[in-house]
Amino acid sequence: MTTITGWRVTSGTTEGPVLKLSEPVSFWGGIGPDGRIIDVHHPQHGAEVTGRILVMRSGRGSSSGTYVLAELLRLGIAPAGIVLTEPDGIIATGALVAAELYDVHMPIVTVSEQDYALIEDGIAVAIAMDGDDAILTLD
């Protein structure tokens, strides 16, 4: 078991299997109402994000992605958590608004490039917060 310390973007506690993307996906136009990647140009087109720890280097695409993430959280089909290497205001806003509206708290964290490489597709990860630190436990 490995422990990584990252940075808290949004608060929450979660665990789940990792879906690691080879390139970032835009929530707007990239993730469909069934919680799957619908962007036909994305290499992982068809993959399901629901309940997964979504790991991608950065955010991408239209600011209306806030809407899509908030809607996925409302419907209970959002990722369990999101791990990035740089903070993203669009994704964060979607989670902040869903927390205010629906009392669902999806953690978003950033990690260093070195730690990013440690998080492999398919492994189980647990995320908890300690102040502004995010503690990731890798199975």
């Binding site: 209306s64 809607e71 806003t93 902040l96 205010e100």
Partner: protein, 414 residues
């Protein structure tokens, strides 16, 4: 505000603003003079829930706030198709959402071109505008300062009157990052209207989310042309600020535009590159024309005048061709005062207000091939609506509309 002394809606909004500021590393908040809202297009229940919650909590905007297009033409509601359950859901949700933003105290502008209205922010003023074309126009052409704001943050900034002081609010983020040298383009090319959306499309592809600097454009290039550059650059890339040396307020000289940035890469824009980019955007493979769509972003009075000059007095609109001009209420009223609207409507133009032909169901079922003079429309419409497009000059749009056949010069630029 956070403590709730100014009401629960202000407290909720301030929680979101301060959290976003923390996430983006802003050291403080900045007071904003105005807000432009993009969250009024209906994409689902969550957006409606958020706006209605702010209304329930007694929220009111603290600064002058304009609203982008919604999903419904409130003045011509019959234009919005309601044939399917999905279309009905969007029409009702869209109407409820627009009402919620009115209840929050927004001016009923319903336009993506708030910069075409009477009061515009001045050089150096801080604002919080959402919607990519409005953001890039405000930063580049007006010299006002807004970061890239989007849905939810926009109304939170309006209710608090504040935004995180980061990104394009700061001098250091506003300098040019890449030079686009247009000095090799012919005077004829620089005088064509369609040159500017194509330049914007290329600029977005080259610059991504950085700040491009154009060199070699005419010093009197029109605001409408700059609008077309920005809208296209914000669609093909994520450009939120560009400079035109000798034209835009922060670029009296190349040195001023680049500021402290050194070793800036230079790209030479050639006629061949422009022709190739326009051909790439023009997906149509059929000769039969179904519709023309002008006014993305919303047409200015000058653009409506140009459309008038292009079609009135010439041949009639061909049978089976629809001809749309999208614009805002205030511009439409001015065009009516100038006597432009009735003759255009008699000729066959459908004016679309409050919304736009590519964000909601307006085009007739079966529409396959559309000509437009907008790089933004050409970029989004094939994906959004499954139509094919040709990005054309106004003259080409007008002539094709009278013959019903798509006619354009593929090698226009020299």
């Amino acid at each position: 505000m956070l403590a709730g002394e100014q009401g629960p809606a202000a407290a909720l909004s301030m929680r979101i603003i301060t959290e976003l500021g923390r996430i983006r590393g802003a050291e403080r908040l900045v007071e904003v003079d105005s807000v432009h809202i993009d969250g009024c297009i209906f994409y689902g229940q969550a957006g409606l829930d958020f706006a209605q919650k702010l209304v329930e909590l007694g929220g009111q905007v603290r600064v002058p706030t304009t609203v982008n297009v919604g999903s419904v033409d409130l003045i011509h509601p019959h234009l919005i198709l309601q044939n399917t359950d999905y279309e009905k859901w969007v029409a009702q949700g869209g109407r409820d959402l627009m009402q919620a933003y009115v209840d929050l105290g927004c001016r009923q502008t319903w336009t993506c071109a708030p910069y075409q209205m009477d009061s515009r922010p001045g050089v150096g003023r801080h604002i919080a505008w959402a919607e990519s074309n409005a953001i890039v126009f405000a930063n580049s052409v007006l010299g006002a300062r807004t970061d890239r704001y989007g849905d939810f943050i926009d109304i939170a900034a309006a209710i608090t009157g504040r935004a995180p002081c980061g990104g394009l609010h700061l001098d250091a983020e506003r300098y040019g990052d890449v030079i686009l040298d247009c000095t090799g383009l012919s005077p004829e090319t620089l005088a064509q209207d369609v040159t500017y959306p194509v330049l914007g499309y290329l600029a977005g592809a080259i610059a991504g989310t950085t700040n491009p600097v154009f060199v070699g454009l005419p010093a009197d290039v029109s605001e409408d042309s700059l609008k077309a550059v920005g809208a296209a650059a914000a669609s093909s890339g994520g450009v939120a600020l560009f400079h035109v040396v000798g034209r835009t307020p922060e670029a009296p000289t190349l040195e001023a535009a680049l500021g402290t940035n050194v070793d800036v890469p230079v790209h030479h824009i050639t006629a061949q590159r422009l022709n190739a980019a326009r051909q790439e955007l023009s997906t149509a493979r059929e000769d039969k024309l179904d519709a023309v769509s002008l006014g993305t972003p919303h047409a200015s009075v000058d653009e409506i005048q140009e459309a008038y000059d292009a079609v009135i007095g010439g041949p009639p609109l061909a049978e089976g061709v629809a001809f749309y001009i999208s614009t805002g209420r205030s511009v439409f009223a001015e065009a009516e005062r100038r006597g432009l609207v009735a003759p255009l409507q008699d000729w066959g133009v459908t004016f679309v207000l409050d919304t736009c032909t590519y964000v909601t169901s307006i085009l007739r079922p079966g529409t396959r091939t559309v000509m437009t003079n907008s790089g933004k429309w050409a970029h989004y419409a094939p994906g959004n609506m499954g139509v094919d497009v040709v990005l054309a000059t106004l003259q080409e749009c007008a002539e094709s509309a009278t013959t019903g056949r798509v006619t354009w010069n593929r090698d226009l630029f020299t």
